[in-house]
Amino acid sequence: MNVAPKRDSYDVVVIGAGPAGLAAAATAAEADLSTLLLDENAGPGGQVWRAIASTPVTERDRLGSDYWAGAELVRAVRTSGAEIIQRATVWSLDRHLEVGVSIDGASSLVKARRVILATGALERPFPIPGWTLPGVMTAGAAQTMLKSSGLVPDGQTVIAGQGPLLWLLAAQILRLGGRIDRILDTTERRNYFAALPHAFAFMTSPYFAKGLAMMREVRAKVPVVTGVSELSAAGDGRLATVTYAAGSRRETIPAELLLLHQGVVPNVNLAMAAGVEHRWDDLQLCWSPALDHNGSTSVEGIAIAGDGAGIGGAEAALVRGRIAARAAVEALAPAAAATLAPMATFRASLAQAERGRAFLDTLFRPARQFRIPSGDTIVCRCEEVTAKDILDAVAIGATGPNQLKAYRRSGMGPCQGRLCGLTVTELMAQARGKNPQEIGYYRLRAPVKPITLAELAAMPKTEADVQAVVRG
């Protein structure tokens, strides 16, 4: 049973209970700071350790040993004294460090002295022709079903895209007896050469051996087509076929399910709505917050840890969570900081966890044609805006994503740009001959997750409201 936060204000509010958030909350609470951990899911773990406390999958090797490492950290947080609220949707954060949160259909506002955002990553949009058809979904959505319910595909299934998570998901599906008919690998051939200078660092990273073994395991069971340079989905009202081109080969194959994935990008919505400055990352091709070495943002009191700070994977996320929390402890309770592991230890662990990241970023840099669509391909699903619509708006004077709202309403639907924002920025940058930094991003507005009018209306009145009315 969920209840509202016990207090009106906390030393530290951590948002998100993936590796970064769990580590941050545990560290802050162990130093005796009043700590609130808010998480949107039914249980802790985030995406990488989703359903870690409740998964029906009991045979450990099927999800891999990295998955089960999460259980240890969950135990640590639960005994740390942190107040943990699951199914808590944070819908607002501002530069006064006031957090709007919805729990069990009731909203409240809590104040923090420090906020650590650990809202993780989102899958990058994959706007190919037909990507909005029923039967096409993201690999991440499939993984969520697999982890929380043990559900795997049993019809004709095609997985297309690239990146470590694509291979991980494929391995997990196969181990649980699911069906995959074909994997269409969209990694650009030239990326292998570009990534070569980073290969040595990667080979000494913890991901190397695991990644190689996983790919070998999948390739033994599923035909893999590499060098896929064109991709589209088609069907009458639902997915029926997938068409691809690889080199001189072009083929149309039947499919009931197409799982798309081309990497993850920071989930920036809450941070941007709070006014945190972000910059375009030319390597990872996404917006990342401007951070100092402790994860502190341009907004006083707000830090970001985990993949929301720039994609780094679960191990890096965990360490960044500890660093951000230790910095908060140093600021709020310097004496207590002495009880924690020294910052230098964390920084050494982070360097180790980040080894090989440049290799992965370079190898799995998504190809331009899969990021920047053309013609009738839908860009904004909420308002059904096509690539051509956006180019037409640019031609009559729309200069950036915010002006585009006036022409096409793109980004104004319920997803608040999560499914179209990167595409719109890159598409407009290409059309206007500018770089994405100059084009900018949607100005994001709270509530970053919808709340009902009834819930807002029922929000408890504070002492200050009552006084305001009396003053009239």
């Binding site: 006036a406 022409y407 919808p450 009018l453 209306a457």
Partner: protein, 373 residues
Amino acid sequence: MTKLADAIIVGGGIHGCSTALHMCLAGMKPVLIEKDYAGRHASGVNAGGVRQLARHVAEIPLSIRSMGIWERIEELVDDTCGFESHGQVLVAENDAEFDACRARVAELNALGFTHEELIDGPELRRLVPAVAESCPGGVVSRRDGAADPARTTTAFRRKAAALGATVCEGVAATNIRKEDGLWRVDVGADSYAGPVLVNAAGAWAGGIAAALGEPVPVETVAPMLMITSRVPHFIDPVVILRGRKLSFKQFADGTVLIGGGHLATPDQDRNETVLDWRGLAISARTVFELFPVMRSATIVRAWAGIEARTRDELPVLGPSARHSGLYHQFGFSLHGFQLGPGAGAVMTELIANGGTQTRIGDLSIDRFHRSTP
């Protein structure tokens, strides 16, 4: 280098863009300077109300002038601007408020204004079926409506540029001065010079006026708005309340815009606002009580635009009392959007012809200086 223009307009909101467009129609070649982009602040993110209803008597002539332009807006700017005319209705929630409505309409009629019409309970519920049974009546202005503010401001800017206005976006006007009989303004590496300067800089206009020795009692405010998910169509006119702060409008796509003037904290230097959720909660409670159909709707976005509010909540419109060639067009105090098209036309008449038939004398800047020693 210095470029010459017939007029320099500072501020690319609906007012600056409208003045630029009307100047072009009068054969002038203005330059419009906007530090962000046209419609970035209040002009692009306001409620879009096209309202003659419930205005201060001093600005009614300007509002009526503007309404005539709104009704042929597509001819003027080649875009419908999303303008729809389903009327605006002021709801009285009790008998005392209804009495005040009756007195107001009588006052306007005595002054010769007929756009506001008193309506009884049955007519109110015919126009706004969802309103609570307890409301005794209200006032309607039937030609009023609403438009899409960002689209409108953008359309004025685009048409002005097409007719020969120079539009500079993304660079602030600095070092505003008068030298050798000409107004001069630096815009990045360039300078513009011209015989006329129009101060239409919205929340930033008060600072410009003060720097030119003509301070006005004006503050920066940020009225909040929120929009809901789509709900089944249930209301056509824009609804405002007589007693409580609320404005309410359903769009063709079913989404509902809720406003009414609760304020966010503006941060003018950062181009930002910090929302006050307690204020928005009050608006939500008002809607919850008045329109039960809205209770399950979700709030998808809330925001606030930065603008200027004068002490008497009336705009400053007309020539400077201190400098020749300087004109002010700012301080619209949360209700300037509908006035934009008309104010641009009037401003152009003042500049090109030296006078206007539209009565705007009560909006002049010297009203703030008459009684001070």
